[in-house]
């Protein structure tokens, strides 16, 4: 049997998280097929065909898949699921949205957010905000899995897979896309950035994030935030790093004015090097930081900026 990977893309481009999931899939036995479901998605299709290790790309190019509405995507995946032993998607907000729907329609359990594959039925996944790692064995005939992308390297792009057009139309007509507000940014995406600088409640307001931006410009970094900074309206929701936000694992994570609550640590403690800048020497963030600087961020960050 083969393995089906559901691509994350914006119709024009494949997101790096797809490449991470393909790498995860190479730990299983079987050909790897990638499903690109979208509308006017030939750009994404071409890129998917180049991902190393992929044997076949299935394309469902139709208006009802344009916005990745869970109802339509789930029906599509179920319709083509017969030949697959494993169905994997990245644990992005899209994957988290449609995959459990797929599982329930197939009457199988889902294994969420896996970080390691031990065998075809046994997986590791973090629970309790990453304070415990569970090893779970699944007894269903088909495995439906979401993958924590930071746990697997991204597959290269030097392949050339066969491309097959699907004639599958699934439009349940019970949900409708209205609009989206997607932040346009020249910065790298949080989940695939090499360097991240994040601000917390200590930033005091959104304007002050400018001092982080200047450092980010020099380091080619993405900007993240704690829940408190997002809740307070300093920055938009897509900046949130943590148990219930984005999971990141860059080479360098700089936490500025962030105390280091369990829920925040859950999103960043697998970073290679962690730097914390906080004026409270007892802040829990220092317990995970490789380099801690006890200082007022409003003097330390501009100084850091000047010295880079």
């Amino acid at each position: 049997m083969s393995i089906l990977v559901i691509a994350e893309h914006d119709n024009e481009e494949i997101k790096a998280s797809t490449n991470n999931v393909v790498t995860a899939a190479t730990n299983l036995e079987g050909d790897i097929h990638v499903l690109v479901a979208g509308s006017n998605c030939s750009g994404a299709k071409d890129q998917a065909a180049k991902i190393s290790g992929v044997a076949k790309v299935l394309v469902a190019d139709s208006p009802e898949y344009e916005h990745c509405l869970a109802e339509n995507i789930a029906d599509l995946i179920v319709a083509i699921s017969a030949d697959y032993s494993h169905i994997l998607s990245p644990a992005t907000t899209n994957g988290k949205n449609y995959m459990p729907r797929v599982s329930a329609l197939l009457d199988v359990a889902q294994i969420s957010d896996i970080t390691a594959i031990e065998s075809s039925d046994t997986f590791e996944r973090p629970i309790y905000a990453g304070n415990c790692i569970a090893t779970v064995q699944n007894s269903d005939t088909k495995k439906v899995i979401t993958v924590r992308t930071t746990a697997f390297d991204a597959a290269q792009n030097d392949g050339s897979a066969e491309v097959v057009d699907l004639q599958e139309s699934h439009n349940l007509g019970i949900s409708e896309f209205i609009k989206e507000e997607i932040a346009e940014s020249d910065r790298p995406e949080l989940t695939s950035a090499d360097v991240i600088i994040s601000g917390g409640r200590g930033m005091q307001n959104g304007d002050n994030f400018k001092i982080l931006e200047s450092v980010a410009d020099k380091l080619g970094a993405a900007i993240g935030a704690s829940r408190a900074a997002v809740d307070s309206g300093f920055v938009p929701n897509d900046y949130q790093v943590g148990q219930t936000g984005k999971i990141v694992a860059p080479n360098l994570y700089i936490a500025v004015g962030i105390s280091g609550a369990i829920q925040h640590l859950a999103g960043m403690k697998d970073s290679k090097v962690i730097v914390a800048i906080n004026k409270d020497e007892d802040a829990p963030i220092f317990q995970v930081a490789d380099y801690g600087l006890v200082a007022d961020l409003f003097t330390a960050v501009p100084e850091l900026d000047a010295k880079l």
């Binding site: 916005h67 509405l69 869970a70 109802e71 789930a74 907000t93 899209n94 988290k96 949205n97 449609y98 459990p100 729907r101 329930a104 889902q110 969420s112 046994t122 973090p126 629970i127 309790y128 905000a129 415990c132 790692i133 090893t135 779970v136 064995q137 699944n138 007894s139 269903d140 019970i174 409708e176 896309f177 209205i178 609009k179 989206e180 507000e181 997607i182 932040a183 360097v195 938009p236 929701n237 897509d238 148990q243 219930t244 080479n251 360098l252 369990i262 403690k269 090097v273 962690i274 020497e281 317990q287 930081a289 490789d290 380099y291 801690g292 600087l293 006890v294 850091l304 010295k307 880079l308």
Partner: protein, 250 residues
Amino acid sequence: MKILVPIKRVVDYNVKVRPKADESGVDLNNVKMAINPFCEIAVEEAVRLKEGGTATEIIAVTVGSSASQEQLRTALALGADRAILVETDIEVEPLAIAKLLKGVVEKESPDLVILGKQAIDGDNNQTSQMLAALTGYAQATFASELKIEGEKALVTREVDGGLQTISVNLPCIVSTDLRLNEPRYASLPNIMKAKQKPLDVIEAVSLGVDIEPRNKTLKVSPPPVREAGIIVETVDDLVDKLKNEAKVIT
């Protein structure tokens, strides 16, 4: 409009949970239990819809052992009208919970089901989507704004790139994200009143669905520990370490 709010009893979010020494499971001895924070947000949203005149009745429901009655009482104190415990001592998985909730949905015929996007114990983020699949209803997950407009719900969702707004037919399943609202605290008089509100107990087996676990936990281990770091005295030191020791900047 009738609203069903499924909730879950979980370890309090302030507790740092550890595996048992023999790695056979999670050490839950004497830890503080609470209503899952996302479920609290779900209850609050339902209460606001009732206060705003959109909803007429709020039913809180949970699947679990009899200890979960405590969390149902919390939901009642926050403003739910009545509660249902679907009782079982098996550790039920999201798929089983969704099947049991489907049974409750069939009995109660709610116009709207609001539940938390994830429980902070298993961090699965599955139940609402599975319930939507089983009932055939539309799903609006990770909601940060919810408006009822006639026969539809207009829901703004928190997605990786920002915000997405969708319109779904009622009845539908909504899962809450953190910024949907800020839940109130239950007042003492409301906690007292909650004790008088109806709480029905039904046996999970009476719903006639397969709730046997499909996932077997082989072990629960601690995450890799990070080696202790150092405190640097100055920004110069920091830059030097990052360049020459960690080599993460140039």
